[in-house]
Structures are given as structure tokens and as C-alpha cells.
């Protein structure tokens, strides 16, 4: 944590496969994500996006294939002290028995990286980034709205100053204005410390706005991959439908 200047780390996925009880969820994914890239993953609900992210951070063991983070193989016992990795869970994943402040400061406190006063200062600073004030810091997660919980989860990930950060639908449950700030913060973090970011989102505008590259996942394989411009003109029907989905009464 001493050198907050360090840069992002590259990510390699080779022939990743995973099935649950015989049902294939990921089928031979191959992917290279460059250091410092913002990579957006889109796709229908249930296509395996969350499962893929869980593999990247070592919460799930693949049936076949491998994942290399900064050249090191990701496994259940990946050395998270060597590389700083963070994940924002789809459901937040806050510890319900701790206050917001304790949740956000957990990483620094448990690893004894900073003095207690310093930790409180950092916590308030990160909470301010996601538009939460000191009055929210003393609350418990159960006293917050879904969107506020999501923002606390993002603040908790930012505290790590990660080199690789995975966001699982960071802007679901958030109103458009806060979504904008979150999008801006993803960009900021990326600019400031060059963090490699993998963002799963259903929010097309956000994706187009922040992504260096976008991949479309369908039934466990990548069906389209490219820059936002390339994706916009993609011939794949699913992508076209996704980008042009608009509510019309039948």
C-alpha cells in the first residue's frame, strides 16, 4: 500500500471451462486483457458473467484451463498480498455485523496497514467519492438502501487501491446521476493508478462511455469482442438487439 503509484496488471484467460452438475456455464473462454485496460463484459442474464468474475479472483476453481493475473496462476490460494485485487459483488457482499465505516476500513485494519486515525480519514474520503457522508458511516448495512449498499461496496474496493478491480454490475440499483459518478470513478481509478478494470454491466451508455473494449458473452462463450465502435457495428444479432432494446407496446 506504500506505493500507490504502481500500475495495473494484465490478465490472461486460457481455455477456461466450468460446468455445474453437468450443465456447462463457461465453455473454453480465451481472453487477454492488457494492463490498465477497462474491459466491459455484457450479455444476457444467466450467461455466466458473474461466474467468470468469480474465477478471475480465485473464488471458483475452473474445471479446465487457467487464468494468469500478472503472469501468476490464479487459484484458491492466490497470494493476494503480492497483487492487490478487489471485487465489487453484485449483491454488495457487505458484512452485516459491521458498520459502514468498519466495512470500508476492514482491509486496512485487518492487515494493519495504517494507523487508526489515518484509516478513518481514508474511509471518509472514499465514502465521499461515492457520495456518502459521515452520517452514513455509523450505520449498519441493513439500514441502507440497495443502492447505498452498492456504493459502500465500491468504496470498500477503492480502499485497496487495487491493481485489478472487478465490478459485478456496479450501477444496477443506482439512479442515473449516481451511475454517472460511479462511471467517472471507474475511469478516475483507472487514470490515477492505472488499475485494470473488468466491468460487468447491463448499462449500455455506461459501457460505451468507459470501455476500451467490450465483450459479449452468451451461453458461456464470447460472441463479440471489440472497441465500442466495433461493437456498435457488430453483425451479431444478439449484440444488435442488446444495443437497440427499446420498450414498445406490442
Amino acid at each position: 500500500m506504500s506505493d500507490s503509484r504502481s500500475t495495473g496488471i494484465p490478465l490472461k484467460v486460457r481455455n477456461l471451462r466450468k460446468s455445474y452438475d453437468g450443465r456447462v456455464v463457461l465453455q473454453s473462454m480465451d481472453l487477454d486483457i492488457a494492463a490498465g485496460e477497462i474491459f466491459v463484459l455484457m450479455g444476457p442474464s444467466g450467461s455466466g458473467k458473474s461466474v467468470f468474475l468469480r474465477h478471475l479472483i480465485g473464488l471458483e476453481a475452473p474445471d479446465a484451463g487457467e487464468i494468469l493475473v500478472g503472469g501468476e496462476r490464479v487459484g484458491p490460494d492466490i497470494d493476494q498480498t503480492r497483487h492487490r485485487l478487489a471485487m465489487v459483488f453484485q449483491s454488495g457482499g457487505l458484512l452485516n455485523s459491521l458498520t459502514v465505516e468498519e466495512n470500508v476500513g476492514l482491509y486496512l485494519r485487518e492487515h494493519r496497514l495504517k494507523a487508526p486515525e489515518e484509516i478513518s480519514r481514508i474511509v471518509l474520503e472514499k465514502l465521499a467519492l461515492v457520495r456518502l457522508g459521515p452520517s452514513d458511516a455509523a450505520k449498519y448495512p441493513s439500514e441502507l438502501s440497495g443502492g447505498m449498499r452498492k456504493r459502500v461496496a465500491i468504496a470498500r474496493a477503492l480502499v485497496i487501491e487495487p491493481q485489478l478491480i472487478l465490478y459485478d454490475e456496479p450501477t444496477s440499483e443506482l439512479d442515473p446521476l449516481v451511475s454517472l459518478t460511479i462511471g467517472r470513478e471507474i475511469l478516475n481509478l483507472n487514470r490515477r493508478i492505472g488499475a485494470t478494470s473488468v466491468v460487468v454491466t447491463h448499462h449500455v451508455d455506461l459501457a460505451m462511455g468507459i470501455a476500451d473494449r467490450i465483450a459479449f458473452l452468451s451461453e458461456g462463450s464470447i460472441v463479440a469482442l471489440g472497441t465500442p465502435e466495433q461493437i456498435r457495428s457488430s453483425p451479431v444479432p444478439l449484440v444488435h438487439q442488446f444495443l437497440n432494446a427499446e420498450f414498445k407496446e406490442a
Binding site: 493476494q80 482491509y107 470498500r156
Partner: protein
């Protein structure tokens, strides 16, 4: 079943390996101890009073008819400290505290809190399991000491006030003092320590392996309590057998 046992052994080993962290987790251990005491002290008191009482009530008349009513104190005290207090207190703690542990860790697994800990490079065993297992292993032997005292009082009270027994409290406690070694009490404490360790590991294991939403939490809690009870009783026999050679004065 066998996989479960294997996993529990691994969890136990991992917990032992995390022991050097115990000092850093002392605040959490203290919190757990407070919770355990809060949840079980009153129940332990009521339970022990009645167990002591019923022991007197069942064996008193028989002893008195055979003219050895004066040995009642000895009998009640030994039954209480070597067998009933350790077993009943462990069962009480499994039901009151172990179930809550399984439910709490279970909901943490289901709602991805454990995964979140892992992504923060915090070992869930050190953070969650260690304080709970240590606290429960300290708390149960303490409860047993308390239960012994209350149980003896209950036994003496019934012995003195039941017409068919009518052994005065003085006789009761004289026989108790002469018949009970400190070794008998230690014997019970050793047993209760191992029961508590088992309850802690079983309940934490069930909690951590919970899958499948709120229904899964309910299933985990039931399994944690039932497995704890079964194991307490099996272990009770084994430990009693192992401790048998040390009876009659080894500790005294």
C-alpha cells in the same frame, strides 16, 4: 458423511494453525464469550437446579430404604460433576449458541460475505471460526463449574425437603465433601472442553458450507445441532472410557 468428517478435521487443523492469531482476535473472543454467557447462563441455572433435584428424588428413597441415605450427597455430586453437567451444558450450548453460529455463518456464506472476506485477503477461519471455537471452549467448562454448584444445591434442597428422603443438608454436604475429589470435577471439565470443541467446529463447518439460500440456512442449523448432539454422546462414552484409568485419585 465421511467427506463431512474429513472437512471438519481439516477445519479443526486450520483453526489450530490460526491459533497464533488468537491474541489479535481477543476483542472478538470476548464479544463471543459475552454472547454465550448471555444466551445460556439463566438456562444453565434452571436446568442444573432441576437435574440436581431429580437426581436426589430418584435415588434418595432407594438409598434411604437401604439405610444408606447418608451417601446421597456423594452420589448426586459424582453424577452431576462427572456426567450430567458436562453433557447437559454441552447440549444446552449446542442448542442455544451452536445453532446461532451455524445460522450466522450460514447467512454469511449465502449472502457472499465470506467471498467478500476472501477478496479482501482476510482468512475467514481466522476472522470468524477461531474466535467462536475459542470462546465456546472456554465458556462450556466455566458453565460446567457453575452447573455443578447449582446442581448440588438443587440436590440438597430436594433431599432435605422431600418427606421420603429427609436427608438434612448438613449430612448431604458432609458426604459430598468426603466422596468427591477435585479429580472428579476435573474429569468432567476435560470432557466438557472436548465436547465444546466439537460443537464449535461442527457448527462453524455447517455454517461455512451452507448453500442454497435461506432454506439452506435452516437445513444447516438443524444439521449442526443434530450432529453436535450425536457426537457429544458418542464422544462421552469414548472419553469416559479413556479417563477411567485416571479415576480414584490420579488428579487428587
Amino acid at each position: 458423511m465421511f467427506r463431512n468428517i474429513g472437512e471438519m478435521v481439516l477445519l479443526f487443523v486450520a483453526t489450530v494453525k490460526a491459533l497464533p492469531w488468537a491474541c489479535r482476535e481477543r476483542r472478538k473472543i470476548a464479544e463471543q464469550l459475552f454472547d454465550i454467557g448471555n444466551a445460556s447462563l439463566f438456562m444453565a441455572c434452571v436446568l442444573s437446579l432441576f437435574i440436581g433435584g431429580v437426581l436426589s428424588l430418584q435415588s434418595g428413597p432407594v438409598l434411604v430404604e437401604n439405610g444408606i441415605g447418608s451417601a446421597l450427597g456423594n452420589l448426586v455430586a459424582i453424577a452431576m460433576c462427572k456426567e450430567l453437567a458436562p453433557v447437559m451444558m454441552s447440549i444446552l450450548v449446542a442448542g442455544r449458541v451452536g445453532s446461532a453460529m451455524a445460522a450466522e455463518l450460514g447467512s454469511m456464506s449465502v449472502y457472499q460475505e465470506i467471498d467478500a472476506l476472501r477478496t479482501l485477503a482476510i482468512n475467514p477461519i481466522r476472522f470468524l471460526v477461531l474466535p467462536r471455537v475459542i470462546a465456546i471452549s472456554i465458556a462450556v467448562p466455566c458453565l460446567v463449574v457453575f452447573s455443578n454448584l447449582v446442581g448440588w444445591l438443587g440436590g440438597a434442597f430436594v433431599a432435605a425437603h422431600n418427606d421420603r428422603i429427609a436427608v438434612p443438608a448438613e449430612t448431604f454436604f458432609t458426604s459430598l465433601r468426603e466422596g468427591v475429589d477435585p479429580g472428579d470435577v476435573v474429569n468432567g471439565l476435560i470432557k466438557s472442553f472436548f465436547f465444546a470443541l466439537c460443537v464449535g467446529v461442527i457448527c462453524c463447518h455447517q455454517g461455512l458450507t451452507t448453500q442454497g439460500g435461506p432454506r439452506g440456512i435452516g437445513r444447516s442449523v438443524t444439521k449442526a445441532v443434530v450432529n453436535s448432539l450425536v457426537l457429544i454422546l458418542i464422544l462421552d462414552y469414548i472419553l469416559t472410557r479413556l479417563l477411567l484409568p485416571f479415576d480414584n485419585g490420579f488428579f487428587a
